[in-house]
């Protein structure tokens, strides 16, 4: 379980996170929903230890992340995480060199699944290819958790369908997935849990099937209610 407890963060004088608390379970798909600037990316960065927090606690399975934690939790940001001069196969070898949990066989499967060319230079990739490549790097690691920041942003329809398939595949089975997206209509039937964030605060966190069952509401319905009130 990823447990975020009363986390505060600011950039300069601006408050980005203002007492955020929520959990994301292992074996579940949790979606972090909010308008731009609500603090979603900062929250993912904070969980990954990529930016300091100014209060609160974050624990992965009861422990602080620590540098060994990067073998247990993978992050797919909406940026490339490798130098532009590298080729895809070089990046894969880099991952193999540095991560014990890198699964080269699976990475090669993903390469074929996404239709990536292993000799392509990262600097030349289109936005859609880059997103698939980043996802390949994240899923190629055997980790308990995987975090994704906007895996669909600025991507063509067909790439988006390919990436959506990942969410209903064995690739994420048993893992804890925490991701952010604006494509709620497309993704809502794929998520177990939705966490709504606004102005650096969690305003609602719920089990999607339970809300549909008990209230007959879609995730979008809940969002409309919450953000328009």
């Amino acid at each position: 379980m990823i447990k975020v407890e009363n986390v505060h963060k600011r950039y300069g004088l601006r408050k980005i996170l203002n007492g955020v608390s929520f959990t994301a379970e292992k074996g579940q798909i949790t979606c972090l929903i909010g308008i731009n600037g609500a603090g979603k990316s900062s929250l993912l960065h904070a969980i990954m230890g990529l930016t300091p927090i100014h209060g609160g606690h974050i624990a992965i399975d009861g422990q602080p992340l620590g540098t060994a934690g990067y073998e247990r939790i993978a992050f797919v940001p909406d940026h490339l995480t490798m130098p532009p001069g590298m080729r895809i196969n070089e990046a894969m070898r880099f991952m193999e060199d540095f991560y014990k949990g890198w699964n080269m066989a699976r990475a090669n499967d993903l390469l074929r699944f996404f239709g990536l060319e292993s000799t392509e230079r990262l600097g030349n990739m289109s936005k859609g290819t880059a997103a698939k490549f980043s996802l390949m790097l994240g899923l190629g690691q055997d980790t308990d958790y995987i975090l994704m920041d906007e895996p669909f942003s600025g991507i063509d329809l067909f790439s988006r369908e390919k990436i959506t398939e990942v969410f209903s595949s064995e690739l994420i089975e048993g893992r804890g997935v925490l991701f952010t997206t604006h494509e709620i209509a497309e993704m809502e039937r794929l998520m177990d849990k939705a966490v709504l964030i606004q102005d650096g605060k969690i305003i609602r966190s719920f089990d999607c099937e339970a809300v549909r069952y008990q209230e007959g509401k879609s995730v979008l319905d809940v969002m409309r209610e919450v953000y328009q009130s």
Binding site: S168, L190, V219
Partner: protein
């Protein structure tokens, strides 16, 4: 077969797992899934219907509880062979549809004979059109 699974349109306000269960019931009622037929694994179902593996799991659990499917040991799940259960599914589906229909048509206050005639004509038209387009589809292939 796979194309059919793929094209299931989910609505966003009912629990996805119940929609999956309902889809199975429809397939059983129309004879597309036979008694005792092996069904896809949870994992395969998740991938085919593009749903979360947990939802697929939950749907299977629900179907097991309703005794729609049976799983023995490590062998794959099958549609139940229990005739009584299968018949209930059919009547349940028809009952539900009729309930919904009656619920909305009642407001118009149509005399029952006129209504039944209308239903008969419409239903025949719809069936003819469907079988026509089905044949057209197969001819085309």
């Amino acid at each position: 077969m796979e194309n059919e699974w793929d094209s299931v349109a989910f609505n966003s306000r009912d629990p996805v797992y119940l929609q999956v269960v309902r889809y199975f019931k429809e397939q059983i009622a129309t004879g597309k899934l036979q008694a005792g037929q092996v069904i896809p694994s949870r994992r395969e179902l998740g991938a085919m219907m593009k749903i979360n593996p947990n939802t697929a799991q939950k749907a299977y659990k629900e179907m097991e509880e309703q005794q729609l499917i049976v799983t023995e040991g490590n062998s794959p799940s099958r549609i139940t062979g229990d005739g009584a259960v299968l018949r209930t599914i059919r009547s349940e589906l028809i009952g539900e549809a009729v309930d919904a229909f009656v619920g909305s048509v009642r407001k118009v206050k149509v005399p029952i004979d006129e209504l039944l005639d209308l239903v008969r004509t419409k239903y025949m038209e719809e069936m003819n059109r469907q079988s026509g387009s089905d044949e057209g589809g197969t001819n085309h292939d």
